[in-house]
């Protein structure tokens, strides 16, 4: 864990109206590490992910990605930082008027101007192949099952070869086998490309399998941070109950 930090949260506060979402949250995630964020519903887990990619701004505090403060950066700088990040949304958030292939090609066409149409097609085919959707390139998102949509969303998040991948509830709405397949894909990405993973999940089994460390949020506060074994011995009952497999 001596690698430079991929993500740094320093005294981050976030409120929506009168509701406190994050209350002085600080932590670091090393390069190549997989961190799973757990907690009860409405405790600020997804907000944490959106703060990491700059879709939300904290009320105060610093969020640094690869040592670059994204809270006070310009739109251009934020856009440049985001090019090294991928985000798998809970609902996959595929553009519903595009085919699966076009969903993947869209960022390449806009950001990688040097790529020719044939190179873009090759990159799309290759990435869809990695998630097992190579035969579904021409399908519309509405024609895909929940698990396929998640895999297509993951493929889109991976298309720009991110060094930091943010994943929001990869197993929600999926059966255990499909959820396990998504976990396998995430582990493969982490191993092959040494991608840093930040995963928000309720799935204890998946979190213990994929995560190097687990962060536990409750009522906007970070009440647990460490390996699953360390958290099993936590003094905090909520932490023990959330990370316990039984």
């Amino acid at each position: 864990m001596n690698d430079p930090a991929a993500v740094e949260f320093e005294h981050v506060f976030k409120t929506f109206g009168n509701r406190k979402i994050l209350d002085d949250v600080s932590f670091e995630i090393s390069e190549g590490e997989a961190l799973c964020i757990m907690g009860r519903s409405g405790t600020g887990k997804s907000v944490t992910l959106k703060l990491m990619i700059g879709l939300l701004k904290p009320d105060s505090g610093r969020v640094c990605i690869h040592s670059e403060d994204i809270v006070h950066s310009s739109e251009e700088d934020l856009s440049r930082v985001r090019r090294h990040m991928g985000f798998l949304f809970q609902s996959a958030a595929l553009l519903d008027s595009f085919t699966v292939g076009d969903n993947l090609a869209m960022p390449l066409r806009r950001l990688d101007k040097l790529k020719s149409p044939s190179e873009i097609k090759r990159a799309v085919d290759e990435t869809l192949g990695r998630v097992g959707l190579d035969l579904d390139i021409a399908k519309m998102p509405s024609e895909l099952s929940g698990g396929m949509r998640k895999r297509a969303g993951l493929a889109r998040a991976l298309i720009l070869h991110p060094t930091l991948l943010l994943v929001d509830e990869p197993s929600s709405g999926l059966d255990r086998i499909t959820a396990s397949e998504i976990d396998d894909l995430l582990l493969k990405v982490k191993k092959e490309y040494r991608t840093t993973l930040v995963i928000v999940t309720h799935d204890v089994r998946g979190a213990r399998r994929v995560g190097d460390r687990i962060a536990v949020l409750d009522q906007g506060c970070l009440i647990g941070f460490g390996t699953a074994t360390e958290l099993d011995k936590s003094d905090h009952e909520i932490v023990r109950r959330l990370v316990s497999e039984s």
């Binding site: 959106k50 990619i53 879709l55 856009s79 440049r80 985001r82 090019r83 990040m85 991928g86 985000f87 949304f89 809970q90 609902s91 958030a93 595929l94 553009l95 519903d96 869209m106 960022p107 066409r109 806009r110 950001l111 889109r156 720009l160």
Partner: protein
Amino acid sequence: MWKFFAFIGEVSLFGLKALVDTFRPPFEWEFFVHEIEEIGWRSLPLILSAGFALGVVLSMHTRGTLVQFGAEALIPTLQSASFFNELGPLVTALLVAGRVGAGIGAGIANMRVTEQIDAIESLSVDSFKMLVVTRIVACILILPMLTVFMDFASLAGGFLAEYLASHISPQLYLDRAFKTLEWANFIPPTLKTSVFGFIIGTVSGFFGYTTDEGSEGVQRAATNSVVLSSLLIILVDVILVKAIFFFFPRNAL
């Protein structure tokens, strides 16, 4: 009252930002062409059929009155003057506000609610330019073209009604329709629909892009887009007609 002015300010800034972003690269040609097809091509059947029907109806109404004064020869003139000056631009804008405004408002709001806009942003793509600017520019460019179609469809409808009533020849009908019509009766009223297009695109884009509620927000965005666009079109039309009369005084005669 304060909230109302704050809202007007927000919508105006939204539209202004869209205009500035129109000239800022990268240009979203692919999306722009798609919107031209969606807003223009797909609105054409509605515009043509509405224009034709309105032409028939207006001709039938005016015939009853003008015949009493022995002035039925003026029916084509009245028809063209009404549609080219006012009815064509206004009805086209209101129809497009209903069809396209609701679609833009609901479509963008749905993308907001289902996190598709967040997904676009997370891919380092400017969602405002991609989804809002392209639609506003398409509305600005398409409205005058649709207005021309509306004008000529109404003339066709008017001719049919007149032909069935008096067996007037197409040549004579057109002669009478365009006899007193000048370019000033056609170009400024047609071009003013670009302003209506800007209103439709901006208002609908604003309601869709800024929604922060669930499915109820989508529904509200669609409704508000149509209501406010239509209202603004009618109000702004008063100002634009006055401006046209100022710059082309012969139109006011």
